[in-house]
Amino acid sequence: MTYPLIDVHELARCFDVRRRVEGRRRRSRESVVAVHDLTFSVEGGEMVGYIGPNGAGKSTTIKMLTGILVPTSGRVRVAGLDPSRDRVELARRIGVVFGQRSTLWWDLPLRDSYDLLQKMYRIEPARYRENLDRFVDLLDLGAQLDTPVRQLSLGQRMRGDITAALLHDPEVLYLDEPTIGLDVVSKGRLREFLRALNAERGTTLLLTTHDLQDIEALCDRVIVIDHGTSVYDGSLAGLHAQGGSTRTLVVDLVDEAPAIEVPGATVRRVEGPRQWLSFPADASAAPVVSAVAAAYDVADLSIQEPDIEDVIRELYSRGA
């Protein structure tokens, strides 16, 4: 029998919150719904972006998928296991990276943390060496292996943490904001690695992020969660089309000019020689750029990607 690697069915989770009510001595209890009516499934080898505004229920979902939280109702299965009941067993088959919280030993060389993980997960020595060599090579960590973690840069530490989560060959890797705070080069390198990992080993990726470029570079599929439930599940292009999101072309002209007129784009703002043109996010920028360049004297051009929060806000306000 085959089943999806991650199977979530009508999942719900409420929290009891105590609130102080004015004029009364006792605090009243109130049930707050964090996640409700959430259904989705992920097949082995998929790379899925799990996005939504702060407080939408992303981390509550991840906690239920890893067994940290018991669902209030509904069903979760990961690799055929019930996460909250088989938490320790499931732990061997998943990898988790919480973006801003490191699992590495601050004062000791990276290698020491890895050696301990080998023992905790009981990874076969040969397999462990092979994995470590491979990841160190892919992530360019060779020189850092014997450096105390506290001396690593943020990017190096993030790569160190991802390696730590992968040494035991997990089937699923949960990444929470993996590129937060990293510079452009580090972000690019990390994305490249995750793509290679997925291609080489078929590791399933579930990624929560605020960085739309992470999603663009990695995920064929996006699940958008808002107010505790899924509001979109499909391709990124489809999300843009549905959310009516736009990209912005910022044009610096040599001289001031009236609003630019080119097919497929509209001017939003003019400020001296600088103009902002918006065009649909699922359209190519090339024709717009060449049309502008053909008709005007251009000093500089840049493209701004749509903000994921805006897209979701748009999507949600329409749905409501």
Partner: protein, 270 residues
């Protein structure tokens, strides 16, 4: 499965603890100063007793070397337990910072990870100091094979009792994350009480320390046997040999509370 579960958990515990020792050793001066300071401060406890005895003949009928036996054994048991599970009283912090969540994604029982976390030999100072006092007091004991057995089991059981108390009372933090003080009243409070002959307290206190917070089994009852004294409260003589039972019971109760606490956490996420 190569080895039985408990043995494997113990090994994992040792492996994690070893890493923490090495991490602490990155700053050797601070490590040494902490250990020495710790020993000196706890040593003052005993100096206090000493000064008291320079004004008194005895304390509730107990001579200095007898009080030293009580003090040394309780202090040793506490130091052993405290070293083994030093971090468990911090689970409130772990919950707040999300470290507990992180530990829950590892394939090792939570209690093993929490106890081993930030393992420190800082209490080595207290351990040495307690061992010295205990060793000195032992020279006054009239030894027999049975007394040796009781003495050894007293230290092990005492550590178990404290271990259980630490774990059990720390679990309160699963319900209210800021209850360290409340827990300390029972754990460190219990430890302080055992440094004196319990005969200085009224009978009601002794009953509480026997059946509710069973620290009387840490040293009081077995020491009565080691010193060959009759129980001033007239409790059953069997109590003097019941320390291992008290240790195992406290431990079992603590593990049950721990499991309930973890279950409460996963179902509320507070």
């Amino acid at each position: 499965m190569a080895s039985p579960q408990p043995a494997r958990h113990l090994r994992t515990y040792a492996q994690i603890a070893w890493l923490w020792i090495r991490a602490a050793w990155q700053y050797p001066t601070s490590f040494v100063l902490l250990a020495v300071g710790n020993g000196l401060i706890t040593g003052l406890d005993f100096v206090g007793l000493w000064i008291m005895f320079s004004h008194l003949e005895d304390l509730a009928g107990f001579a200095l070397h007898e009080v030293a036996l009580l003090y040394g054994s309780a202090s040793l048991a506490l130091a052993l337990a405290d070293t083994a599970i030093g971090s468990v009283e911090r689970i409130g912090t772990y919950i707040r910072t999300g470290r507990l969540d992180q530990m829950m994604t590892k394939p090792v029982p939570l209690l093993v990870q929490v106890c081993a976390d930030q393992f420190t030999l800082r209490r080595l100072g207290r351990l040495t100091q307690a061992a010295a006092v205990f060793g000195w007091a032992c020279t006054y004991v009239d030894w027999s094979p049975l007394r040796v057995l009781v003495a050894v089991s007293m230290l092990a059981s005492g550590a178990l009792v404290f271990f259980g108390l630490f774990v059990g009372f720390s679990c309160v933090q699963f319900w209210t994350t800021d209850a360290t003080e409340f827990a300390n009243a029972f754990t460190y409070g219990g430890a302080t009480v055992t440094q004196y002959p319990l005969s200085i307290f009224p009978r009601e206190v002794l009953v509480g320390l026997t059946f509710v917070v069973p620290v009387a089994f840490v040293n009081w009852y077995p020491c009565l046997f080691l010193l060959g004294r009759t129980d001033p409260f007239g409790m059953p003589e069997a109590f003097q040999f019941a320390s291992p039972l008290a240790g195992v019971l406290t431990m079992t109760a603590a593990l049950l509370v721990w499991r309930t606490g973890v279950r409460h956490y996963t179902s509320t996420g507070s």
